[in-house]
Amino acid sequence: MNDNERTGSLPQRIFENSIVLIIIVVVWLFVPLYTKNLFLPSLFSILESFRDLALNGELWLDIVYSLRIVFAGLLIAASVAVVLGMLLGRFARLERYLDPTLQIMRNTPVLAILPVFILFLGIGDSSKIAIVIWATFFPTLLNTIQGAKNVDANLIRSAQSMGISSGGLFFKVILPAASPFILAGFRLSAGVAMIVIVAAEMVGAQHGLGFMIFNYQHSYQTSRMYVGILTLAIIGVFLNFGLVKLEKHLTRWQEKTQ
């Protein structure tokens, strides 16, 4: 891709970025009006349902309910994963003890564990937070281990030559050096969290976007079901966009590679 192609004029770029979406929207608006299939309502009726659900407050309740669990789980998982990952990355012995267990845990499909969490913790918030923690723990952990292992030995030697304590070495050298890996891992975790919360809410819940989608599918209120799906898609896009921005800001010290 050459420079001219990449930096075309602003209107041209807006056109290139939106034309496919516009076509999809138009097709979705009008084609279902002729096909009249209950399973694929027109975007008009979906928007109508969206307005209804937004006005009666149900939609916001479900969004808040789902995101609360996503963020609680993500935060707990990420803080433990970063600390443990740094230790595992720097102490090979500790890694030898824990690696086999972690490998088995990591490779067990998350949703296969869900019934166990429900047995122990019921179908309330705690089992959902637990499953989000479990699922989002590993991407951040594995990336943190990788990052901590890859710290330039010269930087460590340089800091040590200035008589830095081992605590100082962890916080002032290894953590910032590993941060690009950690942030990339966290972004993966956030994506996983959205998948898992929807699945968990489909299995057993009273609220939440996953519950909402499942519930309206059961009662054949398909335009309301699509409201839930589209809301999740929009949240996902914004979440990823925000995390990419954050990542770019926190790693602005890295040389930009084209």
């Binding site: 030697r157 800091a159 040590q160 050298v173 910032p176 941060s179 790693t251 010290w253």
Partner: protein
Amino acid sequence: MAADTNVVEISTAGLGLVYRKRQSARRGGDIYFPALKEVDLEVGKGEFLSLVGPSGCGKSTFLYILAGLHKQTSGAAYIGGEEITGPSLNRGIIMQAYALFPWRTIQKNVEFGLEVKGVPKPERQRIAREYIELVGLQEFADHFPYELSGGMKQRIAIARALAYDPDVLLMDEPFAAVDEQTRGFLHEELLRIWERTQKTIIFVTHSIDEAVLLSDRVAVMTPSPGTIRKIVDIPLPRPRTNALVNTEEFRKARNKVWQLLQTAGTATKEVKKEDGRVVLDTVLQEEVVF
């Protein structure tokens, strides 16, 4: 220049380092690789001493022992009369790879050692600015290392080491990765800074010209296991500039070091010790006479 070279700043006595590679008895037992052997050296306060020697002769290893980052297996090293047991802020190390912290701005990089030392923020900011100015890069204080050229990075690495005011600078091939022209500039910069700060400098290099141009004395090492073969005085007048390389005196000094390196004529062979250990040992050849 050689400020007060009568006072010894750094000395080593019988310094040696033997690496051990563990191996089962069935395969002949552990193997020992001597990297350094019987290094005796005295460096005066404020002196500029270079170490030259063939690749792998252990000159960098020697420097890292002085930095306290490696541990010798025999003998001892002293700084200011005290035995070196680990790293400390009385020595600053400057590496070929710059080793600047990429997530810190230039200003924050230079503050690093002061931060470790616990110097309060306004104080360390002031000191860091002062040393960034000394190396002439004040307009880059808020930039990140990736935005600087190799030569600029190395000047910042020097500023960072100077900022916490060590007595000794240990420089491990600091200019090997920069282009010829920049290197010439950095030589004059380093000499200017050295003359101003009166630090003791031990400078490891592959380049004979560089060693002769900068140093009061050049220590020539033997191939592995390295030991000091001979120390050559460089009686060239100071202050020195790059123009010196065209003089007859420079060529003479250069030639002397070169010949010593050519005939550093040692080789290694395997020697079986009384206790059955197999050891690589040096075979010293005839002294060369000038």
